[in-house]
Amino acid sequence: MSGGVDSSAVAGLLHRQGVKIVGLTMQLWNQRRLPEVAGEGGGAGRCCSLDDVYDARYVAQLLGIPYYVVNFEQRFEENVVKPFIDEYLAGRTPIPCTLCNNFIKFDQFLEMAEGVGAEKIATGHYARISFNDQTGRYEMRRSVDSGKDQTYFLFGLKQAQMAHTLFPLGEYTKPQVREMARELGIPVADKPDSQEICFVPNGDYAAFIDAYFKEQGIPPRQMRGEIVDREGQVLGEHDGVHHFTVGQRKGLRVTAREPLYVIETKPAEHQVIVGRSEDLLRATLVAADMNWISIAGVVAPMRAQVKIRHRHVAAQATLYPTADPARVEVRFDEPQRAVTPGQGAVMYSGDLVLGGGWIE
């Protein structure tokens, strides 16, 4: 229970169905850390803020269910925050929500829930899970509300995790969920949706990384470097590759005749490579560390739709198996813009989530 409308509605829904439930809130990040990036009000209203915990506790009290706050701060820092920073410094663009799902929510948190005696966990994610008797696998489908669908962040879920997970909201649209929350008398029914990265206020991840280093007493490394074009011609300077992600146009501070975009970052050389819009197009990618969900894998070329970032419309493609079963080659019918290393490539067949991997 995050204190938001979705998880509160889940609690209300299950409670109404007569399911015996226990409310848990994960304390993931201390919002008073990193005062430089805390923003106005010391991070009030952000994820894990005290206000959210109060809201969650109040919902639990209204429903009359047991409720606890569990401390995952250390685990979150080790499994999400540090890898997030390392990825940026390695020139990739990570998805912390997926790391959190893979290593915290559906792993250590699920274990804790089982530890306190629960059979399953239920979350406010917009996705659907069902069991297919023919294949003997748990399948995942996009949520009914396509605008809220969160399957892109859930591609790491293993079969055993899905067996112990409920996503009650997958069958509803967000307006229906708000209405349901209102009907149940849940006071957070009108609370605005949370933003993308819960621990990074204002989405300024570069400022977050700088503040984290300062807090840890890590001296600011030699971050500065050159902005170059594809031919290696120096066009300008930058304050560190972690300020840039593939496809980015803003913040380059380079004047050119046509709009320039980041097409690659090379952390070892402290280089940011820029080019024209069409230089961002890629017809293929390789997805590594594949996790197959609704199917066991691919042995022959297979048609699919592939989504390469949360706000991307899944594009028609063919999946080709490689010698390494954990890697899949994706060949798009039409070249796609800003294929970004570190992001997920999630494969669909219509609503069905086939699986996903990390873009190399």
Binding site: V22, Q27, L50, P66, Y68, V70, M112, G115, V116, G117
Partner: protein
């Protein structure tokens, strides 16, 4: 059925205290500073309570100051003794109500041994010419470990440094005689001994120099202004008069031995001899205690681990870390603190629940193998 095993956090108000509290709320309405008879009744009851508390501290009634509780008592004792300047010597296992006061002053934190006991010689070594106060807790809230207060008092007296003792956990659980101990200031909290929250006392030895930290009327020997919480103070007096010793140790030992015998990979944190009779702090290797605390609560048993942060989540105990426990072991430890209401049946039921939870949690934990 619910069974409460968290008496070091707080105690329920006892039947006898509740009776005097309700009667006082209804009848003793006067302001103890007033000249009229209504005020005089309040004043008489206030002074009766002062005698009751003084009787249990082994001091003169005039040496007892009533205030709002342990935190205020510690603030008054420490800030009132050293003010803005001067050095404080304390230990690394104090309650936040001492540690966070000392954090605002020039303070030396004396470490404790693996048994959770501070060495009086180490206190001696930490003294400086400008040391204005020594502050050491009588018994630790998490492990129940009892500190060598009389020995430290000798060190303090020899050095001519005032000595404050945070007695919040000890008072009511073990006999206290501030004169025999030789301390100058001693903090007491009502809600740890079956009185309500919001009332406490500070023993101030006659002749101790102490500056008030709040300003207003001339109450409590001009050390603590504000109209007295007469019903709360009457309740504290009743609770002090009701203190009984020698009932808890057998039950605690039954619980402790039962858990140690039935659950492998367990042990007691802190000295087992120099310890409050109601407290046991046990580590369970192989899993975090957080899940066990919740699981026990869902089964009807209130126990605790670590200390709660502002969200209500639990942080690893600074006391156990200061004793040299690894972070993993500190996070796998649970405090059981018994009290008046606990029965043999409850203790046996708790033992079963602990054994059951431990087996369940270990079965889930991939890392633990019983050696």
């Amino acid at each position: 059925m619910r069974a409460y095993f968290d008496h070091n956090a707080t105690t329920p108000v006892s039947a006898s205290v509740l009776e005097s509290l309700i009667a006082a709320l209804g009848e003793v309405y006067g302001n103890a500073s007033s000249i009229h008879q209504d005020g005089q009744v309040a004043k008489q009851r206030l002074e009766q309570a002062r005698r009751q508390v003084a009787g249990r501290l082994g001091c003169d009634a005039r040496e007892v100051i009533f205030l709002s509780g342990g935190t205020e008592a510690n603030n008054l004792a420490i800030f009132g003794s050293v003010g803005g300047q001067g050095h404080v010597v304390t230990t690394s296992i104090e309650h936040p109500a001492v540690l966070n006061v000392c954090a605002r002053l020039d303070t030396t934190y004396v470490p404790v041994g693996g048994n959770g006991i501070v060495d009086p010689d180490a206190i001696q070594d930490a003294l400086r010419p400008d040391t204005g106060l020594i502050s050491v807790m009588h018994a630790n809230n998490e492990t129940g470990t009892i500190q060598p207060i009389a020995e430290i008092a000798r060190v303090a007296r020899a050095a001519g440094v005032p000595f404050h003792v945070d007695g919040v956990q000890a008072f009511g659980k073990i006999p206290v005689d501030v004169k025999a101990l030789g301390v100058d200031l001693y903090s007491v909290s009502g809600h740890k001994l079956y009185a309500p929250k919001g009332v406490g006392a500070l023993y101030v030895k006659k002749g101790t120099r102490l500056k008030p930290q709040l300003f207003g009327g001339r109450h409590e020997r001009e050390l603590r202004p504000g109209t007295e919480n007469v019903p709360g103070i009457i309740a504290l007096g009743r609770a002090a008069a009701d203190i009984r010793f020698g009932l808890m140790e057998n039950l605690r030992d039954r619980l402790e031995l039962g858990i140690l015998r039935r659950v492998c990979g367990t042990g007691v944190n802190g000295d087992v001899a120099q310890r409050l009779p109601n407290t046991t702090n046990i580590y369970f290797d192989g899993f975090d205690s957080e899940a066990m605390v919740i699981s026990l609560d869902l089964k009807g048993f209130a126990v605790s681990s670590g200390s709660a942060c502002s969200s209500g989540a639990v942080e690893p105990s600074h006391v156990l870390l200061a004793m040299g426990l690894s972070k993993d072991r500190a996070k796998s430890s649970i405090r059981f603190s018994l009290g008046q209401s606990n029965t043999v049946e409850q203790v046996d039921a708790l033992m079963d629940a602990v054994a059951q939870s431990a087996a369940h949690l270990r079965a889930l934990s991939p890392t633990y193998t019983s050696a």
